[in-house]
Each structure stands twice: as C-alpha cells, then as structure tokens.
C-alpha cells in the first residue's frame, strides 16, 4: 500500500516537486543518508521520462508517483503513454553518445536510462496492470 501518492500534470516544472517529495519520504522511511542523492536522481529521471512520453504522445493525464515504505522503500512512477514507446530502453556507449547523427531526444533517453539502471539496483520497467502505460518501479533498502 502506498504511504504517499503524488499525481502531477505532465509538465517539466513539476518534476522537481516529485524529487523533493520522493527524497523527503525516503528519509522518513529510513533510507540511508548516502543513498538519498541517488534516490533523488532516479525519481527525477523516471518522472522526466514519464513527462517526456506524455508530451510526445499528447497525453494530458497526470503522471502518478507512489511511494511506500513497507519493508523497503518502493517508488512507482506510472505514465499513461502507449506501451511500445516506453519499454524499449537501452543505454548507449561512448561512441554512440558522441555520434553526430544521434538526436538530442535519443541521447537524453539513453542517458536517462543509463542513470536509472546505474543508480537503482532493484529496477523494473513493465506495462501497467490496467489500461495503457508503463510503470517504473524502484526499490531501496531501509534501515541500518
């Protein structure tokens, strides 16, 4: 069960709010202090990705962030964009990153995924159970 649930219209300005809330709840849940920067970055990346997909597909629905602290700190970021858009994520290597023909969007998406995969040990990206969209689920340990 989610202890804190945040839903925001898909605008870049709200991503910072989601990061701040996500870190505040993580701290309260007992996530180690030295992991909080990574929590902040990962929640930001997941929300940025969701906002970008909503804007790309013209989806006005809100992005949903659910935070729960039963046993571990679990964050779910849920978008409502077509599923085929969201699952095909891949990190890029240095040659691909420096390639002139790579679009800014593809670069940012690839870098965003590399950050998620690099900072979150327990990461899942999967279709939502009901309706259209994907869910990015991230889990961090709590306690000492």
């Amino acid at each position: 069960m989610a202890t804190v649930r945040l839903s925001f219209s898909p605008a870049p300005v709200h991503v910072r709010t989601a990061r701040l809330v996500g870190v505040a709840v993580a701290r309260r849940a007992g996530v180690r202090e030295d992991l909080l920067d990574e929590v902040r970055l990962a929640i930001g990346e997941a929300c940025t990705r969701a906002v970008a997909l909503h804007r790309q597909y013209g989806v006005p629905d809100p992005v949903l962030v659910e935070m729960s602290d039963s046993g571990a700190y679990a964050v779910r970021v849920i978008d409502r964009a077509p599923i085929e858009a969201g699952i095909g994520l891949a990190a890029l290597d240095a040659d691909q990153l420096a390639n002139e023909s790579l679009t800014d969007e593809a670069l940012t998406t690839g870098v965003g995924f590399a950050l998620l995969a690099g900072f979150v040990e327990d990461l899942q990206v999967r279709p939502v159970e009901d309706g259209v969209g994907t869910e990015v689920r991230m889990v961090w340990p709590v306690g000492r």
Binding site: R16, V51, A91, E100, A114
Partner: protein
C-alpha cells in the same frame, strides 16, 4: 536551488559558470545560453559545474549538444567538475569518455591547445 548562469572570458576561452539545479525544467535555459555564446562567436567554451547541485539526463544532453556543435565548428568544449556525485553520473553514463573533464578552470584551459596561445 534555481539555475544560475554567469559568463566570463579568460583569454581565448569563454567560461560559463553554472550553479543550482540543471534538470528537465531548467536545461532549456542552459541550452539557450550556450547557443547564444556559440552563435556570438565563442569557439573555446569551458562550462564550470562547480556550483551545480543537481544534474540530470536533460542537462547532460544539452552539454553533449554544445560539445558536438563546437567540435563541428572547429572549436573546443570542456567541463570543470570535482564533485564525486557528479563525476559518478559521468562515469555511469560513459560520458566521462566523451567530455574532457577537469578539476579546475585553470586545468581545463591549460589542457586546451587554444589555451597555450592565450
């Protein structure tokens, strides 16, 4: 903290000092400023990330865009960063192999061939 941008010139180099949070909301302003500098004739640009306390994929995308633009114009682009959390972001994304990264502005300018002539 809000994004802050300040520009100064050191010899042939234009140094852009960035502070605060560079994210999906503020990155467009960083992109605009870099484009202004490059369109205004800056060819050797050093971006000092010393006072940045948050940097995400959109910010990194803007920096890569500036690097490519300057390289294709025969210029140079370097970053100044000595904070471990930010350096980790560059390592994880493999962008540490794409950007020249230096601990200080002096080191960045000294490492650039254009700096030797300045």
């Amino acid at each position: 903290m809000e994004l802050s941008l300040a520009t100064r010139t050191v010899g042939e180099h234009t140094v852009l000092e960035v502070g605060g949070e560079v994210d999906v909301y503020t990155a467009p302003r960083l992109r605009e400023r870099l484009l202004e500098l490059i369109d205004g004739g800056a060819r050797h640009v050093v971006v000092d990330l010393g006072r940045v306390d948050f940097l995400d994929s959109t910010g990194l995308g803007v920096l890569v865009g500036a690097l490519k633009r300057l390289r294709s114009a025969g210029g140079s682009f370097a970053l100044v960063c000595d904070k471990e959390p930010l350096l980790k972001i560059f390592r994880i994304t493999a962008l540490d192999q794409v950007f020249p990264l230096h601990p200080t502005v002096d080191a960045a300018i000294g490492a650039d061939p254009a700096g030797a002539d300045a």
